[in-house]
Every structure is written in C-alpha cells, then in structure tokens.
C-alpha cells in the first residue's frame, strides 16, 4: 500500500486583527492508497483548515504556511503556483463540502455544474462530457438524469444536492477525495444513505478518502484509520479498532465517553469540561492538559511527542512515557479496552505493552 499523500510538520497561521492565530501547529499524517482516513475533533481543532490547506482553498491574503510540506505526486503543494494548483483541484484532489444547500451555484443548471470539471480537465467534446455527467448522476443515485440535467439546485432536496456535489467531486476520478463533514447538515436517514453511497463509490472507483467529522458514529462506519485532532495538532492516530478499543490520549477518552451508548444505561451523557484552547495564544505544553483530569506536571511545561503504541498506532501524551505514573482511564474506556487484544486490560491477564 503506497502513500499517496504525506503531510509533514505542517504549520499554518491566520493573520487577524487580533493577531496571529496558529490554527495548525505541526500536523503530520500519511494517506495510503485506497484507504479512508477520518479526522475527528471538536470545532476549531483545525481539521477543516488542514484539509482546506491541502487544497489551498484558504484565503491567500490572510493565511500563511509557516513551515512543513504537503507531498503529493512528488510535489510540495504548499509551493505550487495558483495555475499549477488549478490543474490539481477537481482532477487529482477534489472535495465535498458540509452544507449541500449552499455549495451549488443557484443560477447554474445542475448539468453545467457537473460538466464543468470534466470539460475543464479532460479534452473531450461537450456531447461526450454530457454523457459522462449523466453517468455520474446515475451512479450517485439521481434518477432520470436526462430530465434533471437542465434543472437548478433549488429543485432538488438536500440529500439529492449532496449526491450531486459528490458526482461533481468524482467527475475526473480523483486520487484523493476530501469530504469535509459531508453528512453534518443532513438528517439522520439521509446521512446513512450518503455514507452508504460513499462506501459504495470507494469500492467502484479506487480513491483515497479523507473524511472530516466530529461524529464518532460516522467514523466507525466509514473509516479505516482515524486521526484525532485537538488544538491544531494530531493527538492520536491509529486504526479504527485501535482508536475505539485501545485509546491512549485523555482527549480520545473524553470523546469516546461523550458518545451515547446503547448498552450502558448512564443517566447523564458525559461532556468534556472547559472550552477549546485559544489558538491566538496557544498553551505551552499539552493543549488538552487544562481540561484533563489526568494531566501531569510536565503537560503544562512541554508538549508531548508522539509515542508509539503499535506500528499503526501513535499518541501524543506523556502518560505513555516509561516514567509516567500508572493511570486508569475512565470506566467506560476500560470496558472497551477489555475487548481489545493487545490492550493492557485485555481479559485482565495480558499486561500493557506501552
């Protein structure tokens, strides 16, 4: 499995009237060919900014790459010119946005919008592009595309519009599809349909997906690997099973504990106390320390490096340091870990391997 995209030590700031907002503070991750990587985190954790910076869709006037690189096909995307980026956008990397109600142009027919990337990036005739466009609409489940080609976005429902946006994103068989909370604005039944469609599509066209969400239920459904973001950094990354059943970072514990569960009859849903860090003046050590009941003294002084848990699983918390005191995660997390082979709570017998 080759790496299709490598983000290395990416740092990005926004220049605002209040000062420099350090939105991304050293993010590194790889995207493998054909996999779905979910990036989860609360609002303001930097997940959307990370993906928008891959596409270079952030306003050039107010955002600035401080350091790091985004390697795609041997090119560093942070260094490409506008013109070079235009050739990559929509062709090699494409994107699905959060709100389908506003992401289609209201005064342009659906057909034109679907055909646009095809005509832009492929040298084919209009008639051929129309055929391709209709096939795409059929593939994403828009019935009778011949008639619907001439219609405008307001004549479609939210779910249908998101299907159309997906069709546009897939128009040129992109190598990477970035889905920025594609189901957040939809109601639950439509959410399920769209997720089903995306999984379906990944089987048909061999594309890698970066899936941004704050919904852990969705993550379990679609992702192969998960990166947890907090305060402009990735704090834990691993396979879905590793993140769900052997989480190491206190923030991941918090996230998982605040998920409603079917089997645990808790009276009140857990919520992580406090508010996200102010990235105008980011905290010195572990950004989550101030909200964490497991914080150590060193968390306030020095940011933790990534500790290796397994070949695929890394977490940035001082709790994994050999000299760290032994800390038991919350009860619900221990319950989860009991079912994970390789976790230190597995059947109470096997010890921790950290």
């Amino acid at each position: 499995m080759g790496k299709i995209l490598q983000v290395k030590d990416l740092e990005l700031s926004f220049h605002t009237f209040a000062g420099e907002v350090k939105a991304i503070r050293g993010v590194s991750f790889d995207l493998n060919k054909g996999e779905t990587l979910a990036i989860v985190g609360e609002s303001g954790s930097g997940k959307s900014v990370t993906t928008k910076s891959i596409m270079r869709l952030l306003p050039e006037s107010s955002s600035e790459f401080k350091s790091g690189e985004i390697l795609f096909n041997g090119n560093d995307l942070t260094k490409l010119s506008d013109r070079q980026m235009q050739k990559i956008r929509g062709k090699e990397i494409s994107m699905i946005f959060q709100d389908p109600m506003t992401s289609l142009n209201p005064t342009m027919t659906i057909g034109k919008q679907v055909m646009e990337p095809i005509l832009k990036h492929q040298k084919i005739s209009k008639a051929k592009a129309k055929e391709v466009g209709m096939d795409l609409l059929r593939m994403v489940g828009i019935p009778n595309p011949e008639a619907r080609f001439k219609m405008y976005p307001h004549q479609f429902s939210g779910g249908q519009r998101q299907r159309i946006v997906i069709a546009i994103a897939l128009a040129c068989n992109p190598k990477i599809l970035i889905a920025d909370e594609p189901t957040t604005a939809l109601d639950v039944t439509i959410q399920a349909q769209i997720l089903e469609l995306m999984k379906d599509i990944q089987n048909k066209v061999d594309t890698s997906i970066i899936f941004i969400t704050h919904d852990l239920g969705v993550v379990a459904n679609v992702a192969d690997r998960v990166a947890v973001m907090y305060g402009g950094r990735i704090v834990e990354v691993g396979t879905v099973d590793e993140i769900f059943y052997n989480p190491q970072h206190p923030y991941t514990w918090g996230l998982l504990s605040s998920m409603p569960s079917m089997d645990l009859a808790e009276e009140k849903l857990y919520a992580i106390p406090g508010t996200p860090p102010d990235l105008l003046n980011p905290p010195v050590g572990d950004a989550f320390a101030l909200r964490s009941e497991y914080a150590l003294q060193i968390d306030m002084e020095q940011a933790p490096p990534m500790f290796k848990v397994s070949d695929t699983h890394y977490a940035a918390t001082w709790l994994l340091h050999p000299n760290a005191p032994h800390v038991d995660p919350p009860k619900t997390i221990i319950e989860r870990m009991k079912t994970f082979r390789g976790s230190r709570y597995y059947e109470q017998a096997t010890g921790g391997d950290a």
Binding site: D82, Q86, S94, F97, S103, L104, P106, T107, H121
Partner: protein, 310 residues
C-alpha cells in the same frame, strides 16, 4: 407565465387610472389658471376662451370629459401652443429624451458594474478605493451640479463638445447623458461591489475553486450572475431617477425633450400638457418596472418558477 403577465397588465392599467385621477384633481389646486396671464381680456372674452378650452364646466364634468378622451388616447389640446394637440407636442420631443435616457441608463449601469466588479475583485487596493471614491461622488453630487461642471469645463473652456441644444447630432447628447448617468453609475457600482464580495465568499464559489476553476471563470461564470440579482431590483428606481434627473438636465442643456416641456408647462399652467407629460412619465416608469420584474425572473431561476405558478 401568461397568467402572471395578464395579472400585471391589469394592475398597470389600474395604476395609470389612479395616477390620472390624482394628477387631475391635484392640478386644480395649483395657484393660477392657464389664462391668468391673459389679463387684458374683459369678462366676455375670458368667458369665450374658457368655453373654448372647456374649463367653464364644473370640475367633475371636466374630469369625465378628460378621462373619456384619454381612453381614446387623446391627451387634449395645449393651452399655450395654440391649437396644437398634446399628443403632437410630446411626439416631437420623445426622441431626444429617449436617446438621453437610454444612453444614460446603459452607460451608467455598464460602467457602474465594471467599477463595482473591479472594486470587489481587487478589494482593499487602490482600485477599490478609487472606484468607491468615484461612486460616493456620483451619489452625493446632484446631477445639475455635474451638468454645470461639464458644461463649463468640457464645453465652454475646452470646446470639445456643444454647450447645449439639440442641433449637433449625437455630439449634443454626450454631455447631458453623462450628467444623467452619474447617479445610476454610482448606485450600480456600490451594489455590485457589496454583492460580489458577499458572493465571492459563498460556499459555491469555494466549490467552483475546488473544481479547478481559475479567477476569471470564478468571477464571470459563477459570481457575476448571482451578484447581478439585487442590482436588477433597483433598476426600476434607477430609471425613475433618470426621469426626474432629465427634468433638470434637459433644462440646463436646453434640450427640447419631454422633461424640458414638463417644466415649462408647469411654469405656464398649461394643464393639458402637465397632465400629458405626467401620464407619459408614469406610463414609462410602470412599463420599466414591469420589464425589470421580467428580467429578474430571467436572471434568477428561483424567481422564474414561482412567478410562473403565481
């Protein structure tokens, strides 16, 4: 769509009727009468003149007669230009006014749109500030000041164009058109700038960028039509502004147009001509607003459909 247009036509007709009625009675409250200046007339002569023009009859009767003639398309006879019908009087004056108005409208909105686009695309640069400055000038300086300035500098100091009158072909129309166009120009520049900036930050523009569209395609294929929608709604008031502006500007440049006629007819209490010009201006405006509404539907597909059903 046909049903919608039919409905609109009925309303337009009703509006005209109300305007005619209101103007007729309001005019009766004007001080003086068309023959007040004939002070050499004795009682008998005055009675003869009043009888000739039909102003000896009671007001409601006069109104009934006027409306009857109006229904036939007859605007009556001028009190001042002896024996000339108001229809003929207006007919000779429509052309200069129409040319000025149309040129001002087209030139004003087009240049305004260009300036607005430039300001929005080069936001917070010298282009933006320059065009905003220009737009503020256009809004705040009344057209008669512009007209006088143009007349003084371009015509009488630099001798580039005629000072006034309508006897030098198209050249005569340039300065008055520019003076009239300043208002629409400033207004459309401001509207387009605000709207373009708003549209350029919308999700579908980000999606267009994500498709790989370049700056030109984003501005003209995606943003422009959407930014145009609110401007279309103010085209009606803009046209009204040009009509009222023409009253003053035609006077300043001594253009033999309808606006100039309107002003002089008020000066001379020429009732029939005042009525005629008022009704002409009203009809024109109502028609323009109707056209603008149709245009709105063409530009915005969301309006088109609901309009068709309604």
């Amino acid at each position: 769509m046909v049903k919608y247009i039919g409905k609109r036509l009925v309303y337009m007709f009703l509006t005209m009727f109300l305007i005619a009625t209101a103007t007729f009675f309001l005019m009766q409250t004007l001080p003086g009468s068309p023959i007040a200046s004939y002070n050499k007339l004795n009682e008998t002569q005055r009675a003869i003149v009043e009888k000739k023009y039909g102003i000896d009859k009671p007001k409601p009767v006069q109104y009934a007669i006027y409306m009857k003639n109006l229904a036939k398309g007859d605007l009556g006879t001028s009190f001042v230009f002896k024996g000339k019908s108001v229809n003929d009087l207006l007919a000779t004056r429509v052309k200069p006014s129409f040319i000025l108005g149309a040129q001002a409208m087209v030139f004003g909105t087009l240049i305004g749109i260009l300036l607005g686009m430039l300001a929005a695309l080069k936001q917070n640069t010298i282009w933006d500030y320059g065009s905003t400055f220009f737009a503020i000038l256009g809004v705040s300086i009344p057209s008669f000041v512009f007209a006088s300035l143009l007349q003084y500098w371009v015509a009488s100091q630099w001798h580039l164009l005629p000072v006034g009158l309508w006897n030098d072909g198209w050249k005569s129309s340039i300065l008055p058109s520019i003076a009239l166009a300043m208002g629409p120009l400033a207004l459309s520049a401001r509207f387009i700038r605000t709207e373009m900036i708003e549209v350029l930050s919308s999700d579908y523009i980000t999606l267009a960028k994500a498709k790989g569209a370049n700056g030109f395609e984003i501005a003209f294929k995606h943003a422009f039509r959407n930014a145009l929608i609110p401007l279309v709604t103010v085209l009606g008031p803009v046209a009204a502004g040009i009509v009222t502006g023409s009253l003053v500007v035609e006077q300043i440049f001594a253009i033999p147009g309808i606006g100039e006629q309107f002003v002089s007819s008020i000066m001379t209490n020429d009732f029939a001509t005042i009525m005629g010009t008022t009704l002409f201006f009203s009809a024109l405006l109502i028609f323009i607003i109707f056209i603008v509404d149709l245009l709105y539907g063409i530009i915005d597909p969301r309006i088109r459909l609901s309009g068709g059903k309604g």
